[in-house]
């Protein structure tokens, strides 16, 4: 007999990194981030139609990463990018204005079903920290495997 998952996704004290983009704070599981670094060593990416959120690329060792502008991804106004979060399981480095802190998040609640737009793929859910609601980003939403393949085929990669 199968057991249904509860409505809320729980993580027992999962470490998360809080980062700021414009006026908004987001959380990402620390296990999904390989490195936090500054903006040095970025090189401009060849523009690819439909991928305006990618303007730079990063080479790190033998791996290459598409630098996703977070403000553009979340359809926000441009922000003052100062940091990069290099993802562990995706060829993506994510821009951030600043890193707030690292904290344990005990509960990630499902995004209310009334939200039916792109946010359903952007976020894994919502965390409430000290009364503040913080979206927990879904690392796979920044670029899917198919999009990475398409970008590389268009020559936007390294």
């Amino acid at each position: 007999m199968s057991v249904r998952k509860p409505a809320a996704t729980t993580h027992r004290g999962e470490p998360m990194i809080l980062f700021a983009v414009g006026p908004n704070t987001f959380a990402i599981a620390a296990a999904e981030v390989d490195e936090i670094r500054d903006l040095h060593d970025l090189t401009p990416s060849k523009p690819a139609f439909g991928y305006s959120k990618i303007k730079n690329k990063l080479q790190r060792g033998k791996r290459d990463y598409f630098v996703v502008d977070s403000a553009s991804h979340f359809q926000m106004l441009p922000s003052k990018t100062a940091r990069l979060l290099v993802l562990r399981n995706h060829p993506v480095a994510l821009t951030a204005d600043s890193i707030d802190r690292m904290t344990d998040v005990s509960l990630v609640q499902q995004l209310p079903s009334a939200f039916r737009g792109l946010e359903r793929t952007w976020y894994k859910g919502l965390a409430v920290l000290d009364g503040t609601v913080i979206p927990v980003v879904n690392p796979a939403s920044f670029l899917s495997d198919a999009e990475v393949t398409e970008l590389r085929a268009k020559g936007a990669g390294l």
Binding site: A114, R116, G117
Partner: protein, 148 residues
Amino acid sequence: MTSPKRYVLFPIGKKRFALPAEEVAELAKPDLLQAFPHTTPLMTGVLVRRGAIIPVCDIAQVLVGPSAPTRRFYLIAARDAGRNRNLIALPVSGECELSSIEARPQTGRLPDYVTSLLALDEEIIEVLSLKILMADDSMKRSAVEGRA
């Protein structure tokens, strides 16, 4: 004619609208609205009430258009009946009233989300279906056009 039911009447601007009382959970004073990036029309953010995250939907944009006055309270209602009783907060511009009134079927060219009408003195109040009002197509269309 349908038998009298209880309705919660709420103002948005100069007009009043109604919801069946069984769909209304509470009337709340303005809490801290918390926003985050999203692309769903009419949604303005969420409230945290007793640990629960409640989405806020500004239906005034649909019902009275973009010129709706400042909303002062949140009417917290259930969007769906039964087990999936998803709560949603609706900003309203004044105090609400509970009333038992006989509803009349809606006639004419009113939108689908108006399920019936309440006649109260010289006032005609539209009874809303949140489920229909918040249907994807309705929200997208209404967010663009509004309703004078």
